[in-house]
Amino acid sequence: MVKRENERIPVSQQAHIVDKPKDLTTIGGTISVQINEKKITVPLGTTILEACQLNQIHIPTLCHHPDLCIAGVCRVCVVDVEGMRTLQTACSFPITSPIKISTSTQMVRKARRHIIDLLLSEHYGECYSCFRNGNCELQNLAKEYGVDNYTFGHVETPRYEVDNSSAAVIRDMNKCVLCKRCVRTCIDLQEVGVLEAINRGHETHVGTFLDKPLADVVCINCGQCINRCPTAALRANDPSDEIWAAIDDPKKHVVIQTAPSPRAAIGEEFGIEPGKSFTGELNTALRRIGFDRVFDTNFTADLTIMEEGTELLTRLKKALVDKDQSVKLPQFTSCSPGWVKYIEHFYPEFLDYLSSAKSPQQMFGALIKTFYAQEAKIDPVDIITVALMPCAAKKFECNRPEMVDSGFKDVDYGLTTREMAKMIREAGIFLPEMPKSQFDDPFGDASGAGLIFGATGGVMEAALRTAYELVTGREVPFKNLIIEPCRGFEGVKQASVKLENCVEQYKFLEGVDLKFVVAHGTANAKIVMEMLKKGELNDVHFVEIMACPGGCLGGGGQPIPTSAEIRAKRAEAIYEEEASLPIRKSHENPHVNYIYEKFLTDGPCGKLSHKLLHTHYTKRGKYIS
């Protein structure tokens, strides 16, 4: 596709634009092919689609997704390869000989149009009342191919019941085009294995085990399927109507916490290129919408570091000093609710390895309805807490029955980036034009350590900055506090930091090589858990796992589309914002110190913080009854 200046490319098509050659699997050498009138040279084994994308030749796609393996099922990308009896799918056809390709013959044009017409005939589209209106790949294709009537009819009554059993993900198979991106996401990318094609022929549909409701199977609510669905067949459970009602209710004091990843991505919902954070603008917009207070989730991310870090040091002490055999090491992070549910289902026997610290979202909820209510002298009954998260699983997390430690539902609603953008638009606000403003006290602006929680490896990096300094009294030995081994998108990362010249309190750690592992995406989590099972992590101390590819910035509640490029840009935005912050270590956040002085007076992992900031887990298992 040719990118002209000033032309706004629909968000859904941006994923198809690849600027740089991808890491193409080559079997050696290059080959010259002719695409339309153009002669080009590509590495042997390049697919026709990749070759076209590299040369700005537009090929429509639907079942293709840069994060997923090739399916070749929608047939929208068919092209003509000279000498072949039938059309070939550009996405799947590897170039291994000097072929001649035509991308816009009569046969190609007609075939694509027919395929789109066929999909539309079965797509129970309600475009104007659909959350993907304007960001729907099927809609875009219909527009691109000038569909102005339903040649093959149009489905008038829904065929399937909408599955809204899940607190996080809603499935409406009436809008499904059977591209199976969700299947490939769930089975290949995430290794959760909830969705597969069921039946065959015209009865084929994407289903769960025995077509049970999503809430009854082993779904971890990561929502990655939503991010990769080209239509609205998958969507998050949207609480915005309830939130509006609370905002409009003068008796309610509605507070919102915003996580760093939505701030780094919400611009995309307003047509801004990925890679720019809108933290300050968002603060203003939220106040204008009617939220009474806007808090920074990074505050409780800092708190998480204090709690989880203290827990780790305690475990280490028990293991090294007390020689307590029952202590479980490595300690696993627990901030990602998708990961927590994953381990509850698939590795319930290892739940003791999980830190008992709640996620930042839930810590905040508990503090708002206790500490903040006290400080602000508001009856917690009247407080509604909303959490802006990049995440679908946060919706499930806040509805966990145990998350009521404040005496109330700690977090009332989990809201995704997409839903937030929708509310902002609904309020008539164009976010990028908002003036910037700060977060509200008493939590204020947090440290950069909390901010980088949004990227995979961020929790580890933040934890190391604090733990190393607490233990040795010195800053981590990395330039500008950037702990490189924690950064980047490798599936499973391993590294270590040597602890030397420890302060008196932590002398027992003298000479210890603090080993850590970072993984993102539950497929990688599975690899790590299998290593743990085999005893290969015996010398590791701390493991960070995020359920979503790329970490929270690639969360299931983030703007659609997603791709490795987009996720990398969001990460850049986060790291860039972090580098400019004055405070970049959790333990130096003055508001954190304030709360330990004023409220959680028995310190990290003390009695009160255990009540409010820590939790327990459920052995769910895999068996579906």
């Binding site: 090739i70 070749g72 929608c74 066929l118 059977l178 065959r200 015209h202 084929t204």
Partner: protein, 405 residues
């Protein structure tokens, strides 16, 4: 109940149904050696008998040329095309030809394992075929050092299908063998490179393999003498429908439909469906046409309809078949076939416009070129040919309806 005994009647034909003694083919093959086998096979001009007509020698050569340490020969006995039953006859009456064909293929391409993929509907043959394999092992036609040939170890096992027509498509068959839904793969890569469990694999039709022992014994030139230039040898035709003598016939390629109709005692024939549900329906005016790759190519199903038959009903039966048997993964086939069936039902109810019918014929052409596999690519054939060739009968009294379209 059918068993090997009741069916063991004397047949005759130029190639497959000619005299043959167990073990001769393999013996000859081992004498010839790999290169000569491929030479004879190439000389014979043998093409795949399942319908697609890919040159068998090429398939074998491509696989033989691969350095892979593991290769497979798969015999496609997932005979499911409506109106086809020749493989049933071969498996029940001439299993030696089929299995020897596999052994020869295994020897030629360097495979140690052969798999017979038997359709679930033929489970009743399983026991007798396994017993037969056991007897081949006793005769040292299977097992280690076959017929004394050093380092030639080969065995065959039988795997059952479970009721899915699409598994007759070679890549769907491989998927099924690997324990997946029988959904055809993207091609390329082809099975000769990346087949069963990722290893080079030859997938041949039962009849193709059964032809091989005869070709080696009597030579490629002998085989070529039968049939036509482009369609060498003979073909098994499964004849059913309105005729006195339905059954399997071995005839040289190049036989005309008229000749065949006479042979099987068909009277008052109105239409002949060649190639099963996925084939073409020919009217009387085309009965002079000949069976062969150059004219009417077919996997061998011949269904005969006399004047009393309702061609729209026939078409509806075929379209229902495809709606059920489509694997459902690709758009043109999954939805396209339902649209074609819908059209047949609308014609039945006299509730259509010709614009609508023409749109669907166009859709059929898209399905032929844009579907992922042979199923979707051929399922519109009967729709297009029946509506074209039997216009008068189907639309003669219709076309009044203008309600839909």
């Amino acid at each position: 109940m059918e068993s090997i005994k009741t069916l063991n009647k004397k047949r005759s034909g130029p190639v497959l149904f000619s005299e043959y003694k167990l073990g001769e083919g393999v013996k000859k093959a081992l004498e010839l050696g790999r290169e000569n086998i491929l030479f004879e096979l190439k000389g014979s001009g043998l093409k795949g008998r399942g319908g697609a007509g890919f040159p068998t020698a090429t398939k074998w050569m491509l696989t033989a040329a691969s350095n892979s340490d593991k290769k497979f020969i798969v015999c496609n006995a997932d005979e499911g095309e409506p109106g086809t039953f020749k493989d049933r006859v071969l498996l029940l009456e001439y299993p030696e030809l089929v299995f020897e064909g596999m052994i020869i293929a295994g020897y030629t391409i360097g495979a140690k394992n052969g798999i017979l993929y038997l359709r679930g509907e033929y489970e009743y043959m399983l026991k007798s075929l396994e017993d037969y394999l056991e007897s081949l092992r006793e005769d040292n036609l299977l097992g280690n050092t076959i017929l004394g040939k050093k380092d030639f170890n080969f065995d065959i096992n039988i795997r059952l299908g479970s009721g899915a027509y699409v598994c007759g498509e070679e890549t769907a068959l491989i998927e099924s063998l690997e324990g997946y839904r029988g959904e055809p793969r993207n091609r390329p890569p082809y099975p000769v490179n990346t087949g069963y469990l990722g290893h080079p694999t030859v997938v041949n039709n039962v009849e193709t393999l059964a032809s091989v022992p005869h070709i080696l014994l009597k030579g490629g030139d002998w085989f070529r003498k039968h049939g036509t230039d482009k369609s060498t040898g003979s073909k098994l035709f499964s004849v059913s429908g309105d005729c006195e003598k339905p059954g399997v016939y071995e005839l040289p390629w190049g036989t005309s439909i008229n000749e065949l109709l006479e042979l099987v005692g068909a009277k008052n024939t109105k239409a002949v469906q060649v190639g099963g549900a996925s084939g073409m329906c020919l009217p009387k005016s085309q009965f002079h046409r000949v069976l062969g790759y150059e004219d009417v190519a077919t996997g061998g199903s011949i269904m005969i309809f006399n004047e009393s038959r309702n061609m729209l009903k026939v078409l509806k039966n075929f379209m229902k078949f495809f709606v059920e048997e489509s694997c459902g993964q690709c758009t043109p086939c999954r939805i396209g076939n339902t649209k074609l069936l819908e059209a047949v039902e609308k014609i039945e109810k006299d509730d259509f416009t010709f614009l609508y019918i023409n749109n669907l014929k166009e859709l059929g052409r898209t399905m032929q070129v844009a579907s992922k596999c042979g199923l979707g690519q051929s399922s519109p054939n009967s729709f297009i040919s029946i509506l074209e060739n039997f216009k008068e009968e189907i639309f003669g009294s219709k076309g009044k309806g203008r309600k839909n379209g």
